[in-house]
């Protein structure tokens, strides 16, 4: 489904809801359903807002209350105290939410280390600070709270409840539409990649900082707008109302319960939790209400750890097939109110989906064998359920026995002028007190394959990290194709034509092999659309002969296949220079020969290569030059044969085994 189609369906649904609400009296819809729907929409806004950053990009935030509070207090101060009109103050609420998010993001994302729980604590602190600020500042309300006047609105709207419903619906549609659009856009793909592996994403050319900033600002703006509407709905604002921990806790509960990787997850979660809570409150259960809510939460998270929506989506007909008859049945029985019926039907549908899921796991929902070593040694048979059997040579290891069709040539790269391609001048890199690289100078011309060798800890990987921009040198400069890359963000370095692989493969675990490669095409120098990137991806997969696994998830690949995937992803960025960091480690000789052939094909397409490798047999075959590092110092640079006879190299690196 295209994003455009999704958006138009969303708009249609919103329109239907608006019409139903407008004519609720004549349609016989209880006014209270409107009230409840308004609550649901508020939580849909907040859960969706949270999900754009925390679900898509994986940056778990505890700070949702900050946006709600800023939005609500914008209305409280401007409308409640300074008689500014509601439309202006609501918009200001959204703007200030965005501004607050931008500041938070600028602090958090500038520092790469503020991830995971550290980011969560940072965001947890923000509402505390804002609440204290409101209480200190008597020009806001000093913590006393502010009451708001009843808004003026045209008569055709209906009564206040219609007004607030329509406003919430508008913002909720905006929020869900934004989430839907983001999910289908480059931004969404990028955020997904950040979620799976931020470093690899950046190295492939994803502007991670900009994307995270965009996500957090969208999240802040939507959260702020929702908070502003909360103030309008409640008619009064106090710090305890908005800057409370229950906001982030419930938002997290809703999004995670619903499912975080899809825009509809938070919508499902918000609707379910809000209706359930409301129903429990209406039953006059006192404490038992919260106990039931807690128990339902525990049960559903245990039963569907990756979110309810995922389970419902796998079996849409089962879901609808249970929901509708139960709903209709309960309503016709006359024993239940509409709300009871809706809730029980929702529960029935969820339980049905979960139970069926337990009995007969749906395809695509294979859980990885938890508690074991990563299944890199997973068998080649099975475990790739999405792959149609016909394309797999039965009973054969995928690589060794493949008939050898002429592999398609790597698309030629726009040849850079011959001459110096990579220039490293006087580069030093310190980690704390340890000098990992000491005044290294190196130059690579186009067309070369340079082997980088040295004992463990000699600085090879550090040099690769400096070349790819993953870290800046302490001193010295690096230039690619005559352009200085020192100080550029890694994705900018990638766009100058540098691609890399990782010693330990870092695939995007939630994407298929094809999409892993498509990411590199999308965010590479040419910046293709997803559709054309997927086509190109298949070509690159063919280069490394992984095309038969295009639909598999990386988890199902063995080590060799993962390393080939790394290479496919790297060449998909259409680099001029490719950095291979121990791309052959752990392969047996037959596989190494296969990988060497791949590397040669890549080189033949005009891509220069710097390869870190311990296997001298391979380097002897491949490299035009060998550079040796020892304890951060460049000790040899030249023809392979010459270098490997150098006594210093033999002493430091080769030992008794000669090439």
């Amino acid at each position: 489904m295209s994003v455009r189609k999704g958006l138009s369906i969303l708009a249609g649904v919103a329109l239907v809801l608006a019409v139903l609400a407008h004519f609720n009296t004549s349609l016989g819809i209880a006014p209270y359903l409107l009230v409840l729907a308004t609550s649901v929409l508020f939580w849909v806004i907040q859960a969706t807002s949270w999900n754009i950053l925390s679900g898509y990009a994986g940056y778990f935030s505890f700070g949702q209350a900050a946006y709600v509070g800023v939005g609500a207090y914008s209305v409280a101060v401007l409308t409640g105290r300074h008689d500014v009109g509601y439309p202006v103050s609501i918009l200001v609420g959204g703007l200030l939410g965005a501004l607050l998010a931008a500041v938070t993001g600028a602090v958090a994302f500038r520092l790469g280390a503020l991830r995971g729980e550290i980011f969560a604590l940072l965001t947890l602190a923000v509402p505390f600070i804002l609440a204290a600020f409101v209480r200190i500042n008597r020009d806001i309300d000093g913590g006393l709270g502010t009451t708001l006047p009843l808004p003026d609105f045209p008569g055709w709207v209906g009564d206040f409840q219609h007004l607030i419903f329509l406003l919430m619906l508008l913002v909720a549609t905006l929020a869900v539409g934004t989430a839907l659009w983001v999910q289908g856009s480059r931004l969404g793909r990028g955020l997904n990649a950040i979620h799976d592996n931020e470093d690899a994403a950046e190295a492939l050319g994803v502007p991670t900082f900009r994307y995270k900033m965009l996500a957090i600002v969208l999240s802040g703006a939507l959260g702020g707008l929702g908070g502003a509407l909360l103030a309008v709905r409640n008619g009064a604002v106090q710090p305890e109302l908005v800057f409370t921990l229950t906001v982030p806790l419930f938002v997290i509960v809703m999004s995670v319960l619903g499912g975080r990787r899809h825009w509809a997850g938070p919508v499902v979660g918000a609707a379910f939790v809000t209706v359930l809570q409301d129903e429990l409150a209406a039953q006059e259960l006192d404490q038992w209400g919260n106990i039931i809510l807690g128990a339902v939460l525990v049960l559903f998270v245990v039963a569907a750890p990756d979110g309810l929506f995922g389970r419902l989506r796998v079996r849409p007909w089962l879901t609808v097939g249970v929901f509708v008859p139960v709903l209709v049945g309960l309503l016709l029985s006359g024993q239940y109110t509409e709300l009871d019926a809706i809730l029980y039907a929702m529960v029935a549908a969820i339980v049905a989906a979960l139970v069926v899921d337990r009995l007969r796991p749906a395809p695509g929902a294979v859980s990885s064998p938890a508690g074991h070593l990563e299944p890199s040694a997973a068998p080649t048979e099975g475990a790739r359920p999405t792959e149609p059997p016909a394309t797999r040579p039965a009973g054969a290891a995928p690589l060794a026995d493949l008939p050898q069709p002429a592999p398609p040539p790597v698309p030629p790269v726009a040849q850079s002028p011959p001459g110096e391609l990579v220039s490293v001048a006087g580069v030093t890199r310190d980690f704390g007190g340890v000098r990992a690289l000491d005044d290294v100078s190196l130059s690579v011309s186009s067309g070369e394959i340079v082997g980088l060798v040295g004992p463990n800890g000699s600085g090879k990987t550090t040099l690769v990290n400096l070349l790819s921009g993953a870290m800046p040198p302490t001193r010295g400069t690096i230039a690619i194709g005559g352009r200085t890359t020192t100080g550029l963000a890694p994705h900018r370095v990638a766009h100058t034509g540098v691609a890399r692989t990782y010693q330990i493969p870092k695939p995007f675990a939630s994407m298929t092999v094809r999409d892993n490669v498509a990411m590199a095409v999308m965010f590479g120098r040419t910046g293709a659309s997803l559709a054309s990137a997927r086509e190109a991806a298949v070509r690159h997969l063919a280069t490394v002969r992984l095309e038969h696994l295009a639909d598999a998830l990386p988890d199902a690949l063995n080590l060799h296949q993962r390393q080939l995937l790394e290479m496919a992803r790297a060449i998909a960025a259409e680099p001029v220079v490719l950095l291979l960091d121990e791309a052959l480690a752990g392969l047996n000789p037959a596989e190494i020969d296969d990988a060497v052939a791949v590397i040669r094909r890549i080189h033949a397409a005009g891509i220069s290569i710097i390869i870190v490798e311990h296997l001298l047999r391979v380097l002897n075959q491949l490299a035009t030059r060998i550079v040796v590092l020892d304890r951060g110092v460049l000790i040899a640079d030249g023809e392979p044969a010459t270098v490997l006879r150098d006594p210093a190299v033999v002493r430091a690196y080769l030992g008794r085994q000669r090439a």
């Binding site: 503020l114 729980e117 940072l122 923000v126 807690g294 525990v298 245990v302």
Partner: protein, 289 residues
């Protein structure tokens, strides 16, 4: 002088923050479970102390003889359940939030939502103090610090010096390899969960010594305790002790020198600053990568 008094009192109450944080920190660090239900255990610990003290006239500190075993079992049972159901990290946050809600409501059923307070007659620690010149060190806070040092220091020694401690640290880093050397993660996890329960019993007891108790308190502890856990470094016991003392003293001094209303403002700004400067926690040793 007032500031010195405040800083000292604050640092002492930091012992309570550290006690509350220690159990949360160690289960998070070692077992990868963010156990919000820990706050519920602390609450139950406080109520058990209240109940035993007011009903039977037992010395509040001695109530640990009952509450510590009870909460050991509770903590171990929680860990058993998390492990059985394979619930880690953020899903554990949700599940334990559900359990926290249930715990809070159950304590409300038993003890009502009223504020409960151990009356002066039954609480010899409540209002007495050690006087050093014009500085007074309240006994209840000295108890807090004493238990914090004892429990956290002891825990630290166990982690550093014993085979079980090494086993736990190894398990925290790589459970598969640890298992291959004979570390039974189920049993060790339950022991750790149980000990976290014991720390909750102690924290609850200390809290009940010097404060009124109400079920809603469990939520109020979140901000400070999470700050202490993360500032100290997740899983770092000594770190949580120092972070607890630091947060206590720092907020008390801000309150006296400026105004109590600025305390959360300054404290949480300082926490953000600390995270920006030392994102791995203030008290984490710089381990070479």
């Amino acid at each position: 002088m007032t500031a010195v008094q405040a800083a000292l009192s604050g640092a002492l109450i930091g012992g309570l923050y550290a006690l509350m944080a220690a159990g949360l920190s160690v289960t998070w660090g070692a077992l990868r479970v963010i156990n919000l239900a820990h706050f519920g255990l602390i609450l139950v610990g406080a109520y058990l102390t209240y109940q035993l003290t007011t009903a039977w006239g037992i010395d509040p500190v001695l109530t640990l003889l009952v509450s510590a075993p009870v909460l050991f079992v509770a903590g171990a049972a929680l860990q058993w359940a998390y492990d059985r159901l394979n619930i880690v990290e953020f899903n554990s946050l949700l599940v334990s939030f559900g359990l926290l809600m249930i715990t809070i409501e159950l304590t409300t059923q038993v003890w009502t939502a009223d504020f409960r307070h151990i009356d002066a007659g039954e609480n010899p620690y409540g209002t007495s103090a050690v006087h050093l010149g014009s500085i007074a060190l309240p006994i209840s806070r000295l108890v807090a610090l004493g238990f914090a040092v004892l429990l956290i220091g002891g825990g630290h020694l166990v982690l550093e010096r014993t085979f079980a401690g090494r086993g736990l640290r190894a398990f925290a880093q790589d459970r598969t390899v640890a298992a291959s050397f004979g570390i039974d993660h189920r049993r060790l996890g339950m022991v750790v969960g149980g000990l976290a329960g014991v720390s909750a019993a102690v924290a609850g007891m200390v809290f009940a010594l010097g404060n009124t108790i109400a079920p809603a308190h469990a939520y109020e502890w979140f901000g400070t305790v999470f700050a202490v856990v993360i500032l100290g470094g997740i899983g770092n016991l000594l770190g949580s002790l120092f972070a607890g003392l630091g947060v206590g003293a720092f907020s008390a001094v801000v309150a006296v020198l400026w105004d109590p209303s600025y305390e959360p403002f300054v404290l949480f700004l300082a926490i953000i600053l600390a995270l920006v400067l030392r994102p791995k926690g203030l008290f984490t040793r710089r381990a070479a990568a």
